[in-house]
Symmetry: C2
Amino acid sequence: LISRSDALALDADDGLRVFRERFLIDQGLVYLDGNSLGPLGVGVDERLRSVVRDEWGSRLIRGWDEGWLSLPVSVGDRLGSLVGAAPGQVVVADSTTVCFYKLLCAALDLRPDRRVIVTDRNNFPTDRYVVEGVAAARGLEVVWLDGVGVDEVREAMAGSETAVLTLSHVSYRTAAIADMAEINRVAHAAGALALWDVSHSAGVLPVALDSSGTDLAVGCTYKYLNGGPGAPAFMYARHELLPSVRQPIWGWLGRRDPFAMEFGYEPAEGVTALLSGTPPVLSLAAVDEGVRVVAEAGVEAVRAKSVALGEFTIALADEQLSELGFAVASPRDPARRGSHVAVAHADAKALCASLADRAVITDFRTPNLIRLGLSPLVTRFVDVWDGVSALRELAPMGD
Amino acid sequence: LISRSDALALDADDGLRVFRERFLIDQGLVYLDGNSLGPLGVGVDERLRSVVRDEWGSRLIRGWDEGWLSLPVSVGDRLGSLVGAAPGQVVVADSTTVCFYKLLCAALDLRPDRRVIVTDRNNFPTDRYVVEGVAAARGLEVVWLDGVGVDEVREAMAGSETAVLTLSHVSYRTAAIADMAEINRVAHAAGALALWDVSHSAGVLPVALDSSGTDLAVGCTYKYLNGGPGAPAFMYARHELLPSVRQPIWGWLGRRDPFAMEFGYEPAEGVTALLSGTPPVLSLAAVDEGVRVVAEAGVEAVRAKSVALGEFTIALADEQLSELGFAVASPRDPARRGSHVAVAHADAKALCASLADRAVITDFRTPNLIRLGLSPLVTRFVDVWDGVSALRELAPMGD
């Protein structure tokens, strides 16, 4: 049996263990929900105080010329290095929902003669709702996949009128990883563009936006990038597409020479044209610091620990939970699994609440999933051990 | 002649002078640009530290159920009280640009048989660009007014196919106030909807959204509401319209019961349906504090001081600047003027930079305007005196 001492031994051996000190985590809290909201970094806390006091407080409007205006692109480039994007293709802005809307519209405008959007019935809700809304507004058809396997995708696209295929790289429910590169090939063979949501992979596993042939992507910064609650999102548009991509929300910050305030919109050069409104400076600074810490650790090292934590979680679940009505709902092959482990149980919702009462924070996803989120920079093996043990203690003893 | 002592006497008499202590303003800085970026409030600084450390840092994901989720509406209601909106009609979200896009599309969808958008050639750039983009996407015509007088508006609307009339309440250039109530009547008589941008009036002069018959409005929170650089914006939709308003970016936070994550989008009840993505918690908290301070002072008192500062500015400009090639470009009638005074000068751009070198912060607007922004909670009469005097010293002595 795997003991708590085994978990502590793994922690002692963990090359990333020093990174936990870079975050402010309450003692006594077992936090297994960094996939929903990453914790507060010490550097983020300091940077925010500096931006508020020294930049906003002292420099005031001058801040715009002293770095604020370039934050969407400078933070975007830094973030791009974590998701396999060469500079000049990523901006940080808006919310994931708004970013997704902008790029979905942009993609559809690049395939004006096609009438179909293909996506996954289990895609993240906001992506599904945006797809529905845009399809309704434009009179397009949505084809809903029942899975994201390459064969299913190929079948749905065959001979199709698909303009855009859009999927999540990692499922928010099961953490299953979609085969981005192969699916991109399928999409392109069918003449469609591929738009990915990398919210559940950015910062925690290698994402090869450039080399996978991805056309467009969006992602969230408040999960594994630890940018803070409701932090702005990011958009990626591959270099070759940038000259022809036109997003629908023509705002001043996406215009060439915005402060000339001239008559008539002309998009800015390159990725800046994806911007619309005034950049959210405080939030961008927080994202910047969150990204820097992941970059310092290195995505490969983060991924290695993520896999180790995931294997440990599944081994513990098999040992401690399988007889109590729980089933592992995430892929068992670590190569196919992102950084959380979902366990299914009929009483998942109540169990999740009971765990929280014991200061074990996970989250519930309908109808029956408890997600155990593994944030390699802060999650310890002993956190997993304590969390799974608490779940075992709380679980009803079977029918 | 108006002396510096006169200015100091006015400050000593100012009933709002204690509010300046609620802001962190560097000694020695003459800040006349609160119309672009409001200063840092002491309460904002403290609230941000608390939200970062105590809420994000300690409560982590639990924060969403402990107040974060309701921030767009709760801060919206508080802000609504400053712009004449009864509760349930305002949300704080996104950027001004994105909010404007959402409400412009929503308004057009309410007038599907009409093909014209009417706006002002001198409207704020981002509004103009959004209008252009939406018109291009939908194949609509834009009628560009050369001014916002009621007669001009009436003429443009006469017998027209206007779906939406959209204007700024206060001109970002001259601070001229448009006659919102009368223009709304003209719009409605023509069967059009009225969408207002109140960025330059919210928090600094009475805005009567409800009683003026305004249909839809957006505004900025980082000017006179002191919400911080790039703070989220706000949207207003009048109660009677809410059941039929449908904005185009269907995101999870605008859906009924978002965390059910169900299949199929159904808009939430009321003003919540204007939301799209995850609320930016840190920024919303800052806006909340900014709004509270204005509410505490009271918009009427703020307006009274704004008018007094404006009259003082114009009197000084007449006395000190009129012989040096400057002309007041803002309305002289205080009832027609918002809270900045624009002065025109051929060398405006260079003068603005020279002022900044002397720690007098104003801003330049092409081709020849210097805007002197008057933020009644922090701007002193002596700041105006020092600013105008610096301008006089820097001005070339004529040709």
